[in-house]
């Protein structure tokens, strides 16, 4: 009976009912956090969204942003970087020489940049960060209404476009020192947030060879995009898998509930536009671009035999979602998350990936579609009885190659003659001096993991988050793995050279002594402005 009452409350009748929290609550944790929800976005650098935080231009007719008093200082673009940027003065950038410049809200749809492992290293130019137009400047044009210019890579949005994220930053906590674990695009970024280790790559099928390198120990490291082996929706010509362990394996060993929930994963559904199967699509009303919902190379657990659901099997039941032994093996459709939570089955660890059109990736998606997704999810979670012990993390799989001024000193070296370039030709770091982690075989240092990579936004939204706080602790995507391990798994580490052992902690963004009193913040899902009552919609 209590379960039914609790389920009714979870469906959104507003007030929390005492004792109605999900069974995840009884799982022991070292912090008050019983539910972690990781919103993993696509392709954003820190300066691209926060370059002038907390100052927005506020032209007439656009959602207004004004910083609260006492907003701490953040490592953003200084006057010198805005007006006399090295990307302007370095003539090697050719016709693309440019200062950073404001992208207007009407320019939410832009072309996409080059976010290659090597191109990003070249843009950072040994730390000078002055060759972005030359190396990571525009790859694709974007759809018909997109904005493009030679120096586009230097463009940034402000609080009139990424209004919701800036508002979350004002009320909760953010980092200005969070990076991807290594340079390069989505697939390695996705792997790093669940495993911190892209070594141990095995080719399934291959018509190209540019997404992996020989690691120098007889194995391979993934450093580019490739679809997971065996996934029904994967490319038929190029597929790969990984042999290491990931955080899902550790959670499974302890029977802790978890799942990765991605748009378009349920192949049996038909969208409003009639699309179905692997070709479920949406047309963004912002970019006017038609895009697949499910993007296989963005789903990291599919690369591991132990955690994959290659044929997209449906969960056994609503109550089995996230549980060990469920037919879907922890890999679900985005909608399954909302179904489960509403039914009182809120997993301990959740990763959410929007359908393509809302994932933020320049070219086919954009910050406004992303904003709708993020605010709908956070508004929903803030209304759950479990909100009192939930933490939402918003972070990104890679930087898209967008300009960011802050170079992180090489922490993990790599010395492949062709692909490594950040320090000098063939060098990421200094051989013999720079640390270099071992591979999954544990035999010695492996190549292909040059990092940390580019700086990206990282926001913590939780009743336990500090308010209007900026953390400067250096962290990476693998810091998510570390937090899960520290909170649920007694500090266990993956081993095998994973970055979970060496990366920083995100706990500086929390205050576990404040009683979890940081109040909810509801935002409008179109404008990102603060509202007192959230609208009802959920992402498709």
């Amino acid at each position: 009976m209590k379960k039914i009452l609790c389920a009714a409350v979870a469906i959104g009748l507003g007030a929390a009912l005492a004792g109605c929290n999900s069974s995840s609550d009884s799982t022991p944790t070292t912090t008050p956090i019983k539910h972690l929800v990781v919103i993993y976005g696509e392709n954003v650098s820190f300066d691209h969204y926060y370059g002038t935080y907390p100052n927005a231009t506020n032209p007439a007719g656009e959602p207004k942003f004004t910083a609260a008093a006492g907003t701490p200082s953040v490592n953003v673009l200084t006057a010198s970087l805005l007006n006399n940027n090295p990307n302007l003065t370095n003539v090697a950038n050719g016709t693309g020489v440019s200062n950073p410049f404001r992208l207007d809200r009407s320019q939410a749809a832009t072309a996409d940049m080059n976010h290659d492992y090597t191109a990003e290293q070249q843009a950072y130019d040994g730390g000078a960060a002055d060759l972005f137009p030359e190396f990571t400047g525009t790859a694709e044009t974007g759809a018909s209404g997109a904005f493009g210019t030679t120096g586009l890579v230097m463009g940034y949005y402000d609080g009139n476009t990424v209004t919701a994220l800036w508002n979350y930053s004002q009320h909760f906590a953010m980092s200005d020192n969070a990076y991807s674990d290594q340079y390069g695009p989505s697939s390695p970024g996705a792997i790093n947030v669940i495993a911190g280790q892209t070594n141990g790559f095995v080719v399934g099928k291959s018509s190209f060879t540019d997404y992996f390198i020989a690691d120098g120990q007889g194995g391979k490291t993934m450093m580019g995009d490739v679809d997971p082996t065996g996934d029904t929706c994967s490319s038929t010509t190029d597929q790969g898998s990984l042999t290491g362990k990931n955080i899902g394996d550790l959670l499974n060993e302890k029977g802790i509930s978890w799942g990765w929930f991605e748009g378009g994963f349920d192949l049996s559904l038909t969208n409003a536009d009639g699309s179905t199967g692997c070709s479920r699509t949406h047309t963004s009303s912002v970019t006017n671009s038609l895009k697949a919902d499910y993007i296989p190379h963005h789903q990291p657990f599919q690369y591991y035999k132990s955690t994959s659901n290659p044929t997209h099997v449906r969960p056994t039941s609503t109550q089995s979602i996230g549980q060990q032994g469920d037919a879907a093996n922890h890999q679900y459709d985005l909608q399954d998350f909302f179904t489960a939570v509403k039914a009182g089955n809120f997993p301990s660890v959740t990763f959410l990936k929007a359908s393509g059109f809302q994932d933020a990736h320049a070219g086919y998606s954009d910050p406004l579609d992303e904003q709708t997704f993020v605010t709908q999810v956070v508004n929903f979670l803030e209304q759950q009885p479990d909100w009192n012990n939930t933490a939402v993390l918003v972070l990104y799989d890679d930087s898209d190659g967008w300009y960011d001024h802050q170079f992180a000193k090489v922490g993990n070296g790599s010395f492949n003659a062709t692909v490594d370039q950040v320090t000098s030709a063939g060098n990421c770091g200094t051989k013999g001096t720079t640390a270099q982690a071992s591979g999954v075989a544990g035999k010695g240092a492996v190549d292909g993991r040059c990092g940390p990579g580019a700086r990206q936004p990282f926001i913590v939204i939780s009743p336990w988050a500090k308010a209007n706080f900026v953390d400067h602790t250096q962290t990476t995507q693998a810091s998510v793995v570390k937090f899960i391990e520290d909170n649920w798994l007694g500090g266990e580490r993956l081993g095998g050279g994973s970055f979970d052992a060496t990366t920083g902690s995100i706990e500086g963004m929390f205050d576990f002594t404040n009683g979890g009193k940081n109040p909810v913040l509801f935002l409008d899902t179109s404008t990102g402005l603060v509202v007192s009552k959230p609208s009802a919609g959920l992402p498709q």
């Binding site: 009407s106 320019q107 044009t141």
Partner: protein
């Protein structure tokens, strides 16, 4: 070095096969009304139109730029001069190509396309593009699809194979993907607005009455960066086209007929039937006329490229040189896929919305009435002497605007182009008149028509 999803270019083998079936199914919305019915759509649908909102600051800036003649070398030619708002943003007269240049004396090379409904044109690709392949290599895609047999395009075709053919892009040859890039073309074209360089345009923008808007929207530094300034200006023009409802009103009689709010006359109804009949005109084989499953109004184009082989047009001064040929996808205005000679002579299928307001048709403006256009489709193959001029041997010079080397690219597969000399034409004179009547229902601004149904 390739980046994300290069493997996506290969996904088409499986995923697109699934998509194509869904894609075509999406566009089915019931059979046309039988003759003798009340002129109403027996299967009315709810069309989804873009939300109307006040223009953003950027779009308003774009509107001012669009109407500013000072942006031309002659000082008299704005975007709106050739893309006239009173003519569906198309040419205001029947000139095959309009005159521009610093003194307004130079004739262009192609007919002016209309600007309505371009905001949904997909990027140029070989085959559809839902799983965006980054760092697209068009020459590679073209080579990969070269061996594939080309399916016939007929109305109601239920084939599940997806056409790996060129599609999308703006201009007659798809050489740019964005409205911003398209707007820049005429600015610098010596035959059109004829600015010698970007710097000249930037200077004009800095002196314009709307210069302050650039600073408000894009920051103080914008006026000092000529390349960026011109790009922002062209983006503003693009934004005007994307936001302003006059560029996509979906207010034609046909739109209202689809929604059950208007009756077609018997001639228009008959014309629609012929339009959709693969044994008659088969227009809907390329000029798609069905709404999407989610209410997206039909755009009357599949965005693909065809080599129709329209007759050479003496009205174009470029054609005085007998060695000059406009080859569309493979040149001379487009350069990147010149090696793909299997595409020479192919031009993009335009939308038929508002076609009845035009007095110039096809890329070379060779026709000035819809009657002549329909006659081209009807007689090109069965009685070519009615379409082409006579050669010295007394025979019609069929495909005289395509060099011999590329005659194999001409469309002889899609009905009615699959007929042979001496066969009966696909349409009678009455048929063609009725189709033209139907085409008249595709003109926007029809709210005032007296034939609206009363329910």
């Amino acid at each position: 070095m390739p980046v994300e999803s290069r493997s996506m270019t290969r996904v088409w083998a499986t995923a697109f096969t699934l998509l194509a079936g869904a894609f075509l199914w999406r566009y089915s919305a019931g059979a046309p009304a039988p003759a003798g019915s009340d002129g109403l759509n027996p299967h009315p649908v709810q069309l989804r139109r873009p939300a109307q909102a006040p223009l953003s600051g950027t779009a308003e800036l774009g509107r001012q730029i669009f109407f500013d003649p000072r942006l031309s070398a002659a000082g008299t030619m704005a975007c709106a001069t050739c893309h006239n708002p009173d003519h569906a943003f198309g040419p205001p007269d029947g000139l095959a190509a309009r005159f521009g240049g610093a003194k307004g004396e130079l004739q262009g090379n192609r007919a002016v396309p209309g600007l309505r409904y371009l905001y949904l044109v997909p990027n140029f690709s070989i085959g559809p593009d839902i799983n965006e392949a980054e760092n697209v290599n068009l020459n590679k895609m073209a080579t990969q699809s070269a061996g594939l047999a080309r399916a016939q395009k007929t109305v109601g075709d239920a084939t599940s194979a997806v056409a790996m053919v060129p599609q999308g892009g703006l201009f007659w040859d798809g050489r740019v993907n964005t409205l911003e890039e398209q707007a820049k073309g005429p600015l610098l074209n010596p035959l059109e607005m004829a600015n010698p360089d970007i710097g000249t345009v930037a200077t004009k923008l800095r002196k314009a009455p709307y210069a302050a808007s650039f600073v408000q929207l894009f920051g103080a530094g914008i006026l000092q960066n000529p390349g960026l300034l011109v790009d922002e200006a062209m983006f503003a023009v693009a934004r005007f086209q994307v936001e302003d409802v006059s560029f996509h009103p979906y207010s034609s009689k046909y739109d209202y007929w689809l929604e059950g709010k208007a009756r077609l006359t018997p001639a228009e109804e008959h014309g629609l039937q012929l339009f959709e009949d693969k044994d008659k005109a088969n227009c809907a084989g390329c000029h798609l006329d069905k709404p999407g499953r989610d209410g997206a109004p039909p755009l009357f184009t599949d965005f693909q490229y065809e080599g129709l082989g329209a007759p050479r047009n003496k009205e174009l001064s470029v054609n005085k040189d007998p060695h000059y040929y406009d080859l569309g996808l493979c040149g001379p205005m487009r350069h990147d896929i010149a090696a793909q000679t299997q595409y020479c002579g192919m031009f993009r299928t335009p939308s038929l919305r508002n076609t009845a307001t035009r007095k110039v048709f096809f890329h070379n403006g060779v026709y000035h009435t819809l009657e002549d256009v329909l006659a081209f489709y009807d007689f090109r193959d069965v009685q070519p002497e009615k379409v082409y001029s006579k050669g010295p041997d007394g025979k019609p010079r069929k495909f005289d605007d395509t060099p011999k080397a590329y005659l194999a690219n001409m469309d002889v597969v899609d009905p009615p182009f699959d007929r042979k000399p001496g066969q009966a034409p696909a349409m009678t004179e009455q048929d063609m008149r009725d189709i033209i009547a139907f085409l008249g229902t595709l003109t926007d601004g029809d709210q005032a028509q007296g034939t609206l149904a009363v329910h």
